[in-house]
Amino acid sequence: MSRQPLIAIKEPVADASAAGTARAAAPERDDRVQQQSLLHRFMGRPESASIAGALLVFAIFGYAASGSGMFALDGILNWQTVAAYLGIISIGACLLMIGGEFDLSMGSMIGFAGMMIAIPPLYFHWPVWLSVLVAFVGCLALGWLNGYLVIKTRLPSFIVTLAFLFILRGLSLALSIHFTNRTIVSGIGALAAEDWLAGALFVGTVGEDLFNWLAAHGMVAMTSDGTPVVHGVPKVILWWGVLLVCSSLVLSFTRIGNWIYAVGGDANAAKNVGVPVKAVKTSLFMFTAFCACLFATLQVCDIGSAAADRGLQKEFEAIIAAVIGGTLLTGGYGSVVGASVGALIFGVVQIGITYTDANSDWFRVFLGLMLLVAVIFNNFVRRRVTESR
């Protein structure tokens, strides 16, 4: 083939040389990148608004609850524990939302998993570790089923998991009545503490020696009987930390993380470039189920009982925490750090309000407003990101 046609595109050739000169100027442009201030880069992150919100909340309560003991060591652990429970499920909800789906059955699954853990040891003399294991396997299977149904039916996950919200809540009630004739099963605490698995991983606190030492050296307040006011860090806080670090690393720095963003951002595009969309989405549903079961296990071990109405509305709280943390409802954008900060705001407000003179009914009003502001802000961020400049 002759190169004759080249003559017909004189202009492109001329322009190509212009591009050549522009190319020579490229380093100048690169310099401009470095001029972007750290603050500017921070503002571009999804969790930046939630961190600003958290600082605001700390400022408000630092003023309103000053001298109340909210920011003493035991006070801190108090709201940290609430935040940690919510943080665990909000991390699951956040990853799933980034992947473009919802799981409204999380709250019901907490109640259901709690029953699966508590009933067999008390009524059928199973060891606790076995019932915990079975609960995790059962929840993962339910998560898989959620994912399978969403992918197979192509229905919105909102509807499919709404069905499971009712199914699982109903099953928790019906089965606990069937097996135990009651809806609150208590007395599991001692069994769990003796169990090698539950005792080591889920029951109680860590760092008792450290706190004893600190108390002995006057760095931690002591009660009248000589023990420190804080016995140790509840294990739920450690679980939250571990989950946060692991999921954050996976999301930001691995192929799986890249695929999670891609299936939520544009599932069709992801499929066309070879991302295993179905496997990614199903795994995310299983991960939220895992988080719900972890929540239930820690709660049952901590409180020593299971109840059919545990986890009520937790699915919404988890989603709200994720949204406050900058995760888009439409998927493809967000951060688990943000979701965890969202959970922290939850904990601070919910517990902090009891340290102030304000009526605790204002908690929900405050959260609703927080959610509204976050959604409006996120929407603005999305527009800025998706529209051409």
Binding site: P5, P12, G257, A270, G274, T386
Partner: protein, 262 residues
């Protein structure tokens, strides 16, 4: 082995049930040429691309790559032979960064701390920016979201990605359809650039004004039948337009419209 044609369809037909989408179409793509596939809506362009891309199997006729007969079971197999198709939706995720989109599904991984398989983000950003620069597109930061790019730049990113991952044949499905004048021009420049790198291009369009300046060869499709293949020096722009639109019919329509205008 060294066939003159890198890609060859000979008397290919494609039927969907009783509907005949392609009938006895012959298309030969030389190495390093830009081959324009022109046709109006419903001419069978999409079916033809999907056959080349490995989505459809021809009902009859021969499909040869490098002179050897092939039978693709999936688009993946076509891709493995270096036949890359850039569809109109471009397969880009707007909320993700340029670098992450560039490597989506084929991310380079580097082991950190001995165990953690992390994305090699530095290489990703560097390579993506470099490939785009080669295409004459300067980006401020490879970590900015694709959503901030213009339509033409997105098209270029999709093409640059296909070339980087080993495309020898680039099938472009209406790359200029949704673009403005200036952006279309940039894409045409890019096609020119790809040819300079020795890549063979099949450029699907219904816009003769885009096809004629860049094309070496033109194949015209009408209602599932190839009207003919012409080298550039054998045909003028007006002739191409005429054949595409059904010749006399179009002239009649034009004169009618002129009548209305007057």
């Amino acid at each position: 082995m060294a066939s003159e044609y890198i890609l060859e369809l000979q008397n290919v037909s494609k039927r969907f049930g009783s509907a005949i989408a392609l009938r006895d179409v012959t298309l030969r793509l030389r190495r390093g040429e830009v081959h324009c596939l022109l046709g109006d809506n419903g001419a069978g362009k999409s079916t033809l691309i999907k056959t080349l891309a490995g989505v459809h199997k021809p009902s009859s006729g021969a499909f040869r790559v490098d002179g050897a007969a092939v039978e693709f079971e999936s688009p993946r197999q076509a891709l493995d032979r270096g036949i890359a198709t850039v569809y109109q939706d471009l397969a880009l995720v707007p909320l993700m960064s340029i670098a992450r989109n560039f490597f989506l599904g084929r991310e380079p991984v580097k082991t950190r701390f001995g165990v953690f398989p992390a994305l090699d983000t530095a290489t990703m950003a560097e390579v993506a920016a470099d490939r785009l620069r080669n295409m004459g597109i300067l980006i401020r930061d490879a970590n900015q979201p694709v959503g901030t790019m213009s339509g033409g730049e997105k098209q270029c990113l999709a093409i640059a990605r296909a070339i980087h991952f080993g495309a020898r044949v680039l099938i472009l499905d209406e790359p200029t359809a949704a673009l403005g004048v200036r952006q279309s021009f940039n894409v045409l420049k890019l096609i020119h650039h790809a040819r300079d790198q020795g890549i063979s291009v099949i450029f699907i369009t219904h816009n003769v004004h885009h096809a004629y300046p860049i094309g070496d060869t033109f194949t015209l499709l009408n209602r599932g039948v190839s009207v003919g293949t012409y080298a550039k020096d054998a045909i003028s722009k007006d002739e191409v337009l005429d054949i595409m639109a059904g010749g006399t019919e179009m002239q009649k329509l034009m004169s009618e419209l002129d009548g209305v205008a007057v």
